[in-house]
């Protein structure tokens, strides 16, 4: 129990220290609460990268010993830095909001009785919805301990193949297993194997833990980030909106890679959109956004589109000189990007989109306007129905925003950048449907719920930028 916990806590702590540290005199660290929300997910992702490289030399268990050595040493170093401090004065974290962190749900004497009652009610409602989501997640972990079909046929199968088959990688990516999409990246399977190696045994609980951590990290990141920018009442409302759709919790309990990917999309899109306004923390925000986007590509092939998108967005809208922005981008993306490149070049077989059809066929499909329009219509219809809640999740979200609307120029700017990134991602998904070699109706029917779940946290963050708390903790920084 302690060793698997170490596998998660050590990288999370290292990431937390890295995000809350003043790297230079001109730079500010990230807000501590936001860093704490980001750290577990980013830590798991980065640890899967280092573990991948250790697995190139040795089997999973000895690789875990090397991995533990690395992350514990890094955590001890981080602890030493955070205790002593690199600078003589205490680092000021970048306030995501402009006012005191005590504002908002942390009730102050200035607040009226109504404010207190209402804020407590919203917090209680958020806790209730979160509790219902957790309860269902745990019940489903008992009902389907190996996850849904795609989980055991793809992600958990890959984890078992790595755990039992290494150092012979050929058994993991053999063409005989083409039905299992062996070209899918390894962040989720290696995170599971890493927990097994730390625990010393193969158990179904590891996949459940990874799935739960990403669900919790996504919720925490959304609530904290929206709360800091738009006020805590709106932050809590965004948490309820995220966990509301039945489909989203269902997908989280499936143990597939879509909810982890959704976490990385949320982090990349939100930080990239905010980085322009982040003042002293801009470089750190840009670097973290590119780390998250590269980890998204290391999680699932859909993330391959996000990485260049975020990189261009960060470079174009950078508030710091291009050269510094480029350095932060390269530093942020280096580890996951090199890991992904090593995996794709050395192991990954071709993708079915391009293996099962000629380039000519793909071009013909793209130029078939009727096909594009029909698929666009199907996607739009399914997007409006998505969520398995009355009226559809998007409609509920739109009404919520309409009821609580209130924004300034900066909030609108963030929403515009984030909305652009999410829209291009969605268009990318539509393009994949257009060129799919499979029966397109079957392809959409069997994948759309998962794909939209990937975007749901980022959509929620984006739309809640246009929402305002009755007593917002919004100031110059927001």
């Amino acid at each position: 129990m302690i060793r698997p916990a170490l596998a998660i806590v050590a990288p999370a702590f290292v990431v937390y220290v890295a995000l809350t540290r003043r790297w230079s005199s001109t730079q500010e660290p990230l807000d501590r609460l936001l860093a704490a929300a980001l750290a577990p997910g980013l830590g798991i992702g980065l640890a899967s990268c280092t573990y991948f490289f250790f697995l190139q030399w040795t089997a999973p268990t000895p690789a875990a010993r090397l991995d533990a050595l690395l992350w514990v040493a890094a955590a001890i170093t981080g602890l030493a830095f955070s205790l002593k401090g690199w600078t003589t004065r205490r680092p000021q974290t970048a306030r995501v909001s402009g006012s005191s962190p005590r504002a908002g749900i942390l009730l102050t004497a200035r607040r009226s009785r109504l404010d207190r009652i209402m804020a407590t009610t919203v917090a209680a409602a958020c806790v209730s919805i979160a509790a219902l989501a957790v309860l269902w997640f745990l019940i489903r972990a008992q009902v389907i301990p190996h996850g849904e079909w795609d989980a055991w046929a793809i992600w958990n199968l890959r984890a078992r193949a790595v755990w039992r088959g290494l150092p012979d990688w050929s058994v993991v990516f053999t063409p005989d297993l083409s039905w299992s999409n062996p070209d899918y990246p390894l962040l989720v399977p290696l995170s599971v194997v890493r927990l097994w190696a730390y625990a010393g045994a193969e158990t179904v609980h590891a996949s459940v833990v990874i799935a739960f951590l990403f669900l919790a990290a996504t919720t925490a990141t959304l609530v904290v980030f929206v709360g800091r920018l738009r006020g805590w009442v709106v932050g809590l409302l965004s948490g309820i909106a995220l966990l509301g759709p039945t489909t989203y919790i269902f997908q989280a309990s499936c143990q597939c890679a879509d909810i982890p990917l959704g976490f990385f999309i949320l982090v990349a899109v939100s930080l990239a959109s905010w980085s322009r306004q982040a003042k002293g923390a801009a470089v750190l925000a840009m670097g973290t956004a590119t780390t998250a986007s590269a980890l998204a590509a290391w999680t699932k092939n859909e993330g391959l589109l996000l990485f260049p998108l975020v990189a261009v967005c960060v470079l174009v809208s950078s508030p710091v000189p291009r050269r510094r922005a480029l350095v932060s981008l390269l530093a942020g993306a280096a580890l996951p990007a090199v890991t992904l490149a090593a995996f794709k070049l050395r192991y990954a077989p071709g993708n079915y989109l391009f293996e099962l059809q000629s380039t000519r066929t793909i071009v013909d499909k793209i130029l078939d306007i009727d096909r594009v329009v029909e698929i666009g219509g199907q996607v739009a219809t399914r997007a409006l129905e998505w969520g398995q809640i009355p009226g559809g999740a998007l409609t509920v979200l739109a009404i919520t925003i309409a009821l609580t609307i209130g924004f300034d120029r900066r909030a609108l700017e963030r929403a515009a950048v984030a909305g652009f990134l999410v829209t291009v991602m969605l268009l990318g998904y539509v393009l994949v449907y257009v060129i799919t070699p499979h029966d397109v109706r079957w392809h959409i029917a069997t994948s759309f719920d998962r794909l939209f779940s990937q975007l749901w946290p980022a959509i929620t963050w984006t739309t809640f930028q246009l929402s305002a708390s009755p007593r917002p903790n919004v100031g110059p920084g927001a």
Partner: protein, 147 residues
């Protein structure tokens, strides 16, 4: 309290009611899954059962390499495909491939519908050149190529 502030709270409450009622829609799913779990008592789910059945084959199979899988008559029906995939999930790092050819061959009960021969094997023509290695309580059989 300013009137505008009160009005904003009213709007937040409306949004809250909307979000909570929408989010509560999953309560029905929570109940149905809870009922399923309760009705099952301590019996494991389908994948766990199948996983255990295929894993019991492991000591009689080589630790690595390709293992044949005799397709059942309803192939490629969803249940048949699922069982084939579970076989790979359970027996990895062995690579389970559809059809005869490899030295070792797995046959699920639905794959062999004829009456078993006195040797416990099958008269299925696809099994020509194979001899029964072992038959398991789950009905799954392992064959090995002879000659």
């Amino acid at each position: 309290m300013p009137r505008g502030q009160t009005f904003h709270w009213i709007r937040v409450v409306a949004a809250l009611i909307l979000l909570v009622s929408a989010g509560s829609a999953k309560y029905a799913r929570v109940r149905s899954d809870w009922r399923e779990l309760s009705s099952r008592q301590s019996a494991p789910d389908y994948i766990t059962q199948e996983d255990a059945a295929f894993r019991s084959l492991a000591p009689w199979l080589p630790p690595r390499g390709r293992i044949g899988y005799l397709p059942p008559s309803d192939w490629p029906g969803a249940n048949a495909v699922r069982r084939f995939y579970v076989a790979e999930y359970s027996l990895t790092p062995r690579v389970v491939v559809l059809g005869v050819g490899p030295e070792f061959l797995i046959a699920v009960p639905e794959a062999i519908t004829d009456v078993a021969s006195p040797s416990g094997g099958s008269d299925d023509p696809r099994l020509a050149g194979y001899a029964l290695v072992r038959s398991f309580a789950s009905g799954i059989r392992i064959f090995r190529r002879v000659g």
